[in-house]
């Protein structure tokens, strides 16, 4: 299958532990952020989003934290499972106008069973 992230930063986590994936974004005008999961051979899959008027948003086993002061975004995955193994990308955009998504470089999450 497709190996998307041969040279990406890698985070190795024991199954059942929590994972934290970090992302620094570049544009202070960005006001909408999305986390994507990309498995080998597949396109990116939407996980969770957050708008700049929030600093935390929770989904099912995932939480996104946004720190606009330092332009930092994190994705927390609770009770990490082998199926969470993938490359994770953050993406930023501005909700005002038709601004395209700008993706970060990505982090490979490897879950150790």
């Amino acid at each position: 299958g497709e190996n998307v992230g041969l040279h990406l930063p890698t985070l190795s986590v024991q199954e059942g532990d929590n994972s934290i994936i970090n992302c620094a974004y570049s544009n202070s005008a960005s006001d909408y952020f999305i986390w994507y999961k990309q498995e080998s051979g597949k396109g990116p899959q939407f996980i969770i989003d957050i708008r700049s008027n929030m600093d935390k948003r929770q989904g099912q086993r995932v939480t996104v934290l946004l720190n606009k002061t330092v332009k930092h975004l994190s994705l927390q995955i609770a009770a990490t499972q082998p199926g969470d193994s993938a490359v994770y990308f953050c993406a930023e955009t501005s909700n005002s106008g038709n601004t395209p998504l700008v993706f970060g470089k990505g982090t490979r999450l490897s879950v150790i069973a």
Binding site: V4, H7, L101
Partner: protein, 113 residues
């Protein structure tokens, strides 16, 4: 319902040739975006189409062009292929323009030799 589909899945071309990649959005989605993903990096925006019109273009040379058909499917064309065009080309569809909940297809892996 079928997700976003792309064809072909893999393609090998030689330098100087041209290529056409195809995308069918999710039924009911009117906006299609194209991204280039070089190995080890995040997707980079190429084009967005909505209602058959180009609504956004990334920093790509004129060798790249696209169009959207009345049934909302789309084609990406690349002329005078270069080795550096080798990448995974992703198509994403969304309901409307400015809807950032985009659904990605599995991509077309283009190798230029």
């Amino acid at each position: 319902d079928a997700g976003v589909t792309q064809s072909p899945t893999h393609l090998i071309k030689t330098r100087g040739q041209h290529v056409t990649l195809r995308c069918s959005p999710i039924s009911g989605h009117k906006s299609v975006s194209w991204y280039q993903q070089v190995l080890g990096q995040g997707p980079q925006f190429i084009f967005q189409y909505y209602e058959k019109e180009e609504r956004g273009r990334g920093n790509f040379p004129d060798r790249f062009s696209a169009r959207q058909f009345p049934n909302y499917s789309s084609e990406l064309n690349v002329n005078a292929l270069l080795l550096g065009d080798s990448a995974l080309y992703l198509c994403a569809s969304s309901l409307t323009l400015g809807d950032y909940e985009q659904y990605f297809g599995p991509g077309t892996r283009l190798t230029v030799t």
